[in-house]
Point group: C2
Amino acid sequence: MDYQLEPIGIVHSSIIDRKNAPRQGYDGGVEAILELKLQVMDGLSGIQVGDEVMVLIWLHQAKRDVLQVRPGHDPERPITGVFATRSPDRPNPVGLHRVTVLKIEGLQLTVSPLEAINETPVIDIKPVLKRCHEE
Amino acid sequence: MDYQLEPIGIVHSSIIDRKNAPRQGYDGGVEAILELKLQVMDGLSGIQVGDEVMVLIWLHQAKRDVLQVRPGHDPERPITGVFATRSPDRPNPVGLHRVTVLKIEGLQLTVSPLEAINETPVIDIKPVLKRCHEE
């Protein structure tokens, strides 16, 4: 079985390295542009300005051999399994980010807030399902 | 650059084919077991019964060359780009499911509701971030 992802686009952001990336979108994510590839353009129809979407990205600077971390690098917090945290370091470094679409120009979607590093590959975009009281 | 995923486990479910799979968890998802691989066991520490988590799965029966669908196979609804839908058919067939952890026994997590087909590979588990009023 093959589990190979094919990026559908790339992130353009003012966040240029991991050290300065905020830990969660609401903790300092910025406006960023998702530049999609021409061959997936038809997949964008139906997305509108104002929509909230989930963006899946490939955390290209993450370490894949990490199974436990100290959340927020906070010495007061216990060592925790990565599946109980949003650490980018994890076996499959797929990041999940809820953003609002601010502008659509051809293959470029301006979204906010996004804490991804510049040139992060985009894997997927999905609508937010509105049904309950938390994300 | 390599974008190869390595499954961390597999879904055991009574849903055995795609035709009978409900379209969303709250639309008929069932109790299912995530059986994790021994080599990722340390990554589970900190997950507790009652937690809500996001499960990322590899939709192994999906078609990757589909860019537009009719949502819900409903002839009344317009053809829509896959990135504006939760269709399993999409360039990168990663499914995103919000579930509650009902039981933890070693490497087996019982969760609900999950609409994944039996033997679907599991890619990642992430905590739900509680901050706003929709999913």
